[in-house]
Subunit: 248 residues, 2 copies
């Protein structure tokens, strides 16, 4: 099984530092990824310094891996570098808008996943931190991100010190549509979720969370309405502040 099909998130790491050569191979793989117009509208902030890790940890709700992983990579959409180059060449850049926020986010993610897969090819473990957009504003300040640069995701990288099982997935037909989108029916929803809902691990989760079912764990415990809305407003404000919403 190659690394595209064998991913497991790793959150416990050995303290072994990564070598310069390991890191360069991962970063190079990131840059070899597809990207729009070969503009490379992303930056990778590689953090190995304990002081900066300490500062980043609360942005990721103090998940222990932020301090224990030897390498933290914050992937950012970056129109700053390209715009500076344009200005210096008597060309007027106009990439400070939502079109280029989205485009740069797409390119940043393709690069991030190449980085992650190259790490896994090397036998290293990684975990994505979705918390990056929750506290993007604070991360901008800690990492000195100028206007034109906004955090999109983070991965922690290191030698695995755990070996979790593959996690379950919905059946392939849940996420694949042929030719055009076929919307779901109550009975197809029941069928697509039936395996997941009957797992022992799901039953345990429901009991631990004291909810009626798995869906309620998501809506009442993990990703709640008030949090979703406040994160939405905060991240959108950060996007404006970092210069990605100029419509003039």
């Amino acid at each position: 099984m190659n690394s595209t099909s064998s991913h497991k998130s790793i959150r416990k790491f050995k303290s072994t530092e990564l070598t310069k050569s390991q890191i360069e191979k991962m970063a190079t793989a990131a840059t070899r990824a597809s990207n729009t117009g070969n503009m490379q509208l992303y930056s990778m902030i590689l953090t190995t310094d304990d002081v900066i890790k300490e500062q980043l940890a609360p942005c990721h709700y103090n998940q222990p891996c932020v301090k224990s992983a030897p390498l933290i990579v914050t992937f950012c959409a970056d129109i700053n570098r390209f715009s500076l180059w344009c200005e210096q060449r008597d060309a007027e850049p106009a990439y400070d808008n939502f079109c280029w926020f989205t485009t740069a986010t797409i390119d940043t993610m393709i690069a991030a996943q190449n980085f992650a897969l190259e790490a896994e090819e090397q036998g290293l473990g990684i975990c994505y931190l979705g918390t990056t957009i929750y506290n993007a504003k604070e991360i901008c300040s800690i990492l000195n991100l100028p206007k034109g640069v906004i955090p999109i995701t983070t991965i922690v990288v290191g030698e695995p010190d755990e070996s979790p099982d593959l996690t379950d997935r919905l059946p392939l037909e849940a996420v694949v549509h042929w030719q055009t989108y076929s919307d779901y029916t109550p009975s197809s929803i029941n069928q697509l979720w039936s395996e997941k809902e009957s797992l022992e691990s799901t039953k345990r989760l429901i009991s631990e969370n004291d909810t009626e079912n798995l869906a309620q764990i998501f809506t009442t415990k993990r990703y709640k309405k008030d949090d979703n809305i406040s994160i939405s407003l905060k991240y959108f404000d950060t996007l404006i502040e970092q210069g990605f919403f100029n419509n003039k």
Copy 2:
């Protein structure tokens, strides 16, 4: 060289159809990717039908590969399926907001890149179509995307009928920052772009485009201010219409 470092965009394809097993392997690799809370907030629309390809082609400015590639995959952020499941389980979903647009986009792109790399592992060629967000509104209509589903990117897939060279990249230090972001100076910008600007292919491009330099090709020919702004407004409107900007 493994596939994370050997990507070349392929736009010319043999007419050989892909087998069900090839397609399932790529789609499975996509689903094995990291994703937030294992919610799988994406859908892949696999188009092999010539009629639908014809309809999609103008959305991608009639790039010939949209009609000639045996498989077109439109990757969409999808909160529809998960929300339907929640509603059916007496759980109130609240994922129709910008936080989850961004999160689902991130997860969609991780899945897309796994799909792309698995295709390349199989000896197939791919090309990402950044035009997906330019005409997302029309794509929604062609692919019957309901509220809660929005196109993020497209890849065309097939057996390569060309063998292009690796394209150039900026030096690694252009996109890598250690510990925190080091902003660029006029002299670092000159240095980082010097190799790219001195390529024969760059000189040819400048002469063909009749501009003073490479940067002006981007700002006056390829990605112009008026286009950037109109795409921004149109995609943001589509995002609202598809139900990703509810702040209440």
